[in-house]
């Protein structure tokens, strides 16, 4: 290879000095300047040795590596002598795509989703108002959730809200918060958010596992669900209260949404928390990030509806998760089958204390609207 180029070069040199030698002999100028002057007058033969031209010659050869280029941009991995074998990857191009997904699509569609849910809830509230207990509050409380169920709910719910807040803080911080808070203050808040997100994730996973084990048997499809769906849960008409067991179909939907989305969030989140422990390629990490953020925002939007109906959306509903004791008439309207079982004494929930906490019994009737 080298020899083939070297030979013509030597020949060219021999030829050059061979032709110049007679001229130099008769020249009065010093020998050093001779060759230069001679060359300038005659003009060098194109492509002769030592000469530099502005652009590559037509005879340009492209060596083997040009065939590799497409492989390199496709993620060809070479050999590296350092321990991190992934460093052998020269180029990954998906990052640019990931960037536009993370910075543009995710921010845009997540905000649309949350905004759509808030508008829907606001519209529902404007049309229907607060859903009241039709038969009025009885003043008699029954225990819907035992303390461990209430705690399990709030561990999951509280950690989820923390995770949602810190996640949103990081996703929207740069365009929305950074200009307001300034670089240093936002960077500090973002770092705190990151740590709360990282460690809060484990609390959420623990809570998720707990409520799954605790409630899964109440959330299996039963014979009341189809009727509940056909009546749209009684949301669309007045005085319509389809029967339901401990959880109606709407609550079952929330349960399975939380279990499935929460589970996927946990898996993708663990993958992000421990980079390259479970996956080998950077593409998998990028997918995990997009999936994690998108599912997180989806779950946040869905949970807004759950928060709404459990607080301002329905009278007397919040008590179920604050003390665990609910008004009998409220329970009859929304969970008639469960109430019948409860009162018949064949409900496992019955095993707790027989009476509500003393300071709770008289609160709700006074607050009756």
């Amino acid at each position: 290879m080298t020899l083939r180029r070297f030979l013509p070069m030597v020949l060219a040199l021999v030829f050059l000095f061979g032709t110049l030698a007679p001229a130099a002999a008769q020249d009065v100028r010093p020998p050093g300047a001779t060759a230069e002057a001679q060359q300038t007058e005659a003009g060098p033969p194109p492509g002769s040795a030592g000469q530099i031209i502005a652009s590559p010659p037509d005879t340009m050869n492209y060596p083997y590596i040009s065939g590799l280029w497409s492989d390199i941009v496709d993620g060809e991995t070479g050999y590296v002598s350092i321990p991190d074998e992934r460093a052998g990857r020269l180029i990954q191009t998906q990052g640019m795509e990931w960037l536009s997904w993370r910075n543009d699509e995710l921010r845009r569609w997540s905000s649309y989703g949350v905004a759509a849910m808030l508008i829907a809830l606001g519209g529902f509230f404007a049309v229907k108002g607060r859903i009241k207990v039709d038969s009025g509050l009885s003043g008699r409380l029954i225990q819907r959730f035992k303390p461990h169920e209430v705690i399990g709910h709030w561990v999951t719910a509280g950690s989820f809200l923390l995770l949602a807040l810190t996640g949103i803080w990081l996703l929207y911080g740069r365009p929305l918060l950074l200009p307001v808070m300034g670089q240093d203050a936002y960077a500090l808040s973002a770092e705190i958010s990151k740590y709360m997100h990282n460690f809060g994730g484990f609390v959420f996973m623990a809570g998720l596992l707990y409520i799954f084990v605790m409630w899964v048997r109440h959330n299996i499809w039963d014979r009341y669900d189809w009727n509940w769906i056909r009546q749209a849960g009684g949301f669309l008409s007045k005085h319509s209260h389809p029967p339901a067991d401990k959880f109606n179909f709407g609550q079952k939907t929330v349960f399975w949404m939380v279990v499935i989305l929460g589970g996927l969030l946990s898996l993708s989140g663990l993958n992000l928390l421990m980079p390259f422990w479970f996956v080998d390629s950077i593409e998998a990490m990028q997918y995990a990030q997009i999936i994690h953020a998108a599912l997180g925002m989806l779950m946040f939007a869905a949970i807004l509806a759950h928060i709404y109906i459990g607080s301002v959306g329905m009278q007397a509903a919040f008590r179920a998760m604050s003390t665990g004791w609910v008004d009998l008439n409220w329970a009859r309207e929304h969970h008639s089958v469960w109430v019948d079982k409860y009162l018949a004494g064949n409900n496992p929930e019955r095993k707790g204390p027989k009476t509500p906490p003393p300071d709770e019994g008289h609160v709700e009737p006074k607050a009756a609207e």
Partner: protein
């Protein structure tokens, strides 16, 4: 205003890894981090090429674009630097970077990341040039001393060259013309104006 670039000549690099070592030593890079690495393609077979890779100091850098706390920035010389004080170790610049330049020391539990570290073009960070604080965080600021990055300065075959983009382009163009072929990298024709008739003969062995 210049635009600082690295160029690694795949036809000159002999995979001696001196650039990697020089960088680690000059900047006292923490364990587990390689600001520069040498990748060998077709290792041990005909057509083997080695190329030294670090941060490319992109003009339109994806890391600058994605950073949630916006701490990655361009200097006047077109060098991409970052402010470690604001880095939260989210890892997003690593996901976005096509060349795998940003890296993180493992800090804390599991695989959680410390503050990002990457090639600074031997230009330090936002702190006062050549202060102890700057050195501890980012390594040497050779640019402030009027020197080029050490990896390029000490490359034995001058495969790795660094400096102003126009000068680097001139040097490489001259090399290519003299040896009659180029590395075949993407963009060569656009940059150096390959004339008609030719076009890259992909896969051709010399």
């Amino acid at each position: 205003m210049g635009k600082m670039v690295f160029h690694c000549d795949g036809d000159r690099c002999i995979e001696c890894n001196a650039c990697v070592t020089a960088c680690k030593n000059e900047n006292e890079v923490p364990w587990g981090i390689n600001r520069r690495r040498v990748v060998t393609l077709n290792d041990g077979v005909p057509g083997e090429k080695s190329i030294s890779v670090a941060c490319m100091h992109c003009s339109d850098a994806p890391c600058v674009n994605v950073c949630p706390t916006n701490v990655i920035y361009h200097t006047e010389d077109g060098v991409v630097l970052h402010n470690k004080d604001g880095c939260i170790g989210c890892g997003y610049c690593f996901y976005a970077c096509p060349f795998g330049a940003p890296q993180y020391p493992q800090e804390g539990n599991f695989g959680s990341r410390g503050k990002m570290d990457k090639c600074t073009f031997c230009a330090g960070g936002p702190e006062e040039a050549n202060s102890a604080e700057e050195f501890n965080k980012y390594g040497r600021n050779r640019l402030a001393e009027g020197k080029l990055p050490l990896c390029a300065e000490m490359c034995s075959t001058k495969a790795l060259i660094a400096g102003d983009a126009d000068e680097i382009a001139d040097i490489f163009r001259q090399r290519v013309v003299e040896r009659g072929f180029d590395s075949g990298g993407y963009g060569f024709q656009q940059k150096f104006g390959q004339q008609s008739g030719g076009g890259p003969r992909a896969g051709q062995k010399l």
